[in-house]
């Protein structure tokens, strides 16, 4: 176990250093778009609106937290690995060292988890400050962390399979962007037509936003969604380990 954690630390170390060298840049990048969403949907559009008996701001903040974990975790792991793999070739060096594949995947996900929870956390703090309907609960923290891990693993998967930087962008605009808008982030999935609803329930972000919202608003906690999210998380992890073992 200690050995395994050492390996995880070795892998994440370079990303920690990377964050230190580019701190301001990274910070501004990961906070910009969620702040804009918050301004536009929370204050601009949602001012004075209520939704399912609560102010729309209280409804939308957890959704923005969820989509922030997705976009930040996904893009920070996928971009960094993509660059290390296809431009720096330093990913090869890591693969040549005697590290366990599972340690490589966990280590590589850590930057996504850290950055995802920092930017999600900042939005959440702002939300806690502006509306009394939101609560910080252990389940909320767990949901945010699990969703960060899930989308970090997804980012790793995209980067490992990508043949070029272009394919990551394509994946982002075809899968990630639609998810951020549709998966119960700005409105409840139950408002969508039946077949479409079914489709949305197949996507991990839907379950992440359901969990994050319910725990933040003290609604009945949707354990099924949490389990589904965990299943996504575990499968992305296992697929990544498999890719390292067979394709790299």
């Amino acid at each position: 176990m200690i050995e395994f954690l050492k390996e995880v630390y070795a892998v994440m170390w370079s990303d920690l250093r990377f964050m230190r060298h580019h701190f301001l840049n990274i910070f501004i990048m990961s906070i910009m778009s969620p702040l804009l969403y918050l301004l536009a949907f929370g204050y601009g559009m949602g001012r004075g609106m209520t939704y399912e008996d609560i102010p729309y701001v209280a409804f939308v903040v957890p959704g923005i937290v969820a989509l922030t974990t997705l976009s930040t975790s996904f893009s920070s792991t996928s971009t960094r690995i993509n660059v290390q793999r296809l431009y720096y070739y330093s990913f090869d060096e890591m693969m040549m060292s005697p590290l366990r594949n599972s340690a490589i995947i966990i280590g590589k996900s850590m930057m996504g988890v850290i950055r995802g929870s920092i930017s999600g956390g900042i939005i959440l703090l702002i939300g806690l400050y502006i509306t009394p309907d939101l609560h910080l609960t252990p389940l909320l923290i767990a949901s945010i962390l699990i969703s960060c891990f899930t989308f970090s693993f997804l980012g790793i998967m995209a980067a490992l399979l990508a043949k070029s930087h272009q394919s990551i962008s394509t994946f982002s605009s075809l899968i990630i962007l639609p998810m951020t808008f549709l998966c119960g982030t700005f409105f409840s999935v139950s408002l969508m037509p039946g077949a479409f609803q079914f489709l949305l329930y197949l996507l991990p972000l839907t379950h992440a936003s359901i969990c994050i919202r319910a725990s933040a608003l003290d609604w009945v906690f949707p354990w099924t969604s949490l389990l589904i999210l965990l299943a996504f998380c575990a499968s992305f992890f296992l697929i990544n380990v498999y890719i390292l073992k067979t394709k790299m």
Binding site: Y9, S90, M96
Partner: protein, 287 residues
């Protein structure tokens, strides 16, 4: 252990293209071995297979007695590798890159500090340690890569075309480093398409072309296999022709039979001659 690398019947395909075609190769412990061949011959592919970066289709590869398929981490621990393209993390400083490699190999922090200091001193990098990678020239990056590759004290160092793109001075410096490392006990496996480099550095040279090992031996032996003396002659706009002879007397005899007005050079056979003779192709020679 007499042979540090043993490769038998290695086959590697990319889709339906054969990159390595039944390669048998042994490298002896302690030598500088040169893998010489033109671009696309299969040198990089061989090195990537040996360092476990690329999978292969048939054959066995033993590094330091470890089967790289069955026991990859033991094999990896014996190998240091400098890739053809610089593979440092450009978002980090030189020192951070070195620390990273020692973390990968689980070297304790006191030992890490000692080795990084000693190696960077040995390679002459000390003053650049806190520079970002991209502020250094190619030769310095190469040297930083060497320190990184040596941090876990590998028994064998792979260098894939180490001097491509370096100026003459940087190349000579790198040759010295390679010789010094070898003197201090590291086995060297280097690939090159520079014949001069193979001749200058290597104890033994393997000539590879189209994924096949054509010949192997000390550079002098490879040269004498075609004949010790070469005659280059050029006549009437036909392309330059080459003939090889066992000694100068035979060569001079042949020269005297050539028609008037032929441009003739008589010289010692070099590795390029034997390469051309053995493969029927020419590798670029750098002067």
């Amino acid at each position: 252990m007499e042979n540090i690398i043993e490769i038998k019947g290695l086959v590697k395909r990319y889709d339906d293209k054969v990159a390595i075609d039944g390669l048998d190769l042994t490298v002896r412990t302690g030598e500088i071995f040169g893998f010489l061949g033109p671009n696309g011959a299969g040198k990089t592919t061989t090195v990537r297979v040996m360092s476990t970066l690329a999978d292969f289709d048939c054959g066995t590869v033993y590094i330091c007695g470890h089967d790289i398929k069955k026991d990859p981490s033991k094999a990896k621990a014996c190998i240091g590798m400098i890739q053809q393209r610089i593979s440092l993390d450009k978002d980090l400083t030189i020192r951070e890159n070195m620390i990273l490699y020692s973390l990968y190999h689980k070297i304790s922090s006191a030992e890490r500090r000692r080795r990084i200091d000693a190696l960077s001193e040995y390679i002459g990098l000390t003053e650049y340690m806190d520079n970002m990678v991209d502020t250094l020239s190619g030769g310095w990056k190469k040297r930083a890569a060497i320190v990184c590759a040596l941090i876990h004290e590998p028994k064998i160092l792979f260098l894939d075309e180490p001097t491509v793109g370096l100026d003459t001075q940087a190349r000579r410096l790198l040759w010295d480093i390679i010789r010094r490392l070898n003197n201090d006990g590291t086995t060297i496996f280097l690939t090159t398409h520079y014949i001069e480099e193979a001749e200058a550095l290597c104890d033994r040279v393997g000539i590879i072309n189209r994924g096949k090992l054509i010949d192997i031996g000390p550079p002098e032996d490879l040269c004498s296999r075609v004949g010790a003396t070469a005659v280059e002659y050029f006549h009437n706009g036909v392309k330059t022709q080459y003939r090889y002879f066992q000694n100068r007397e035979e060569a001079n005899e042949f020269v005297s039979t050539l028609p008037e007005g032929t441009t003739v050079t008589v010289r010692r056979t070099n590795l390029e001659d034997s390469f051309v003779e053995l493969t029927g192709e020419s590798v670029g020679r750098v002067r």
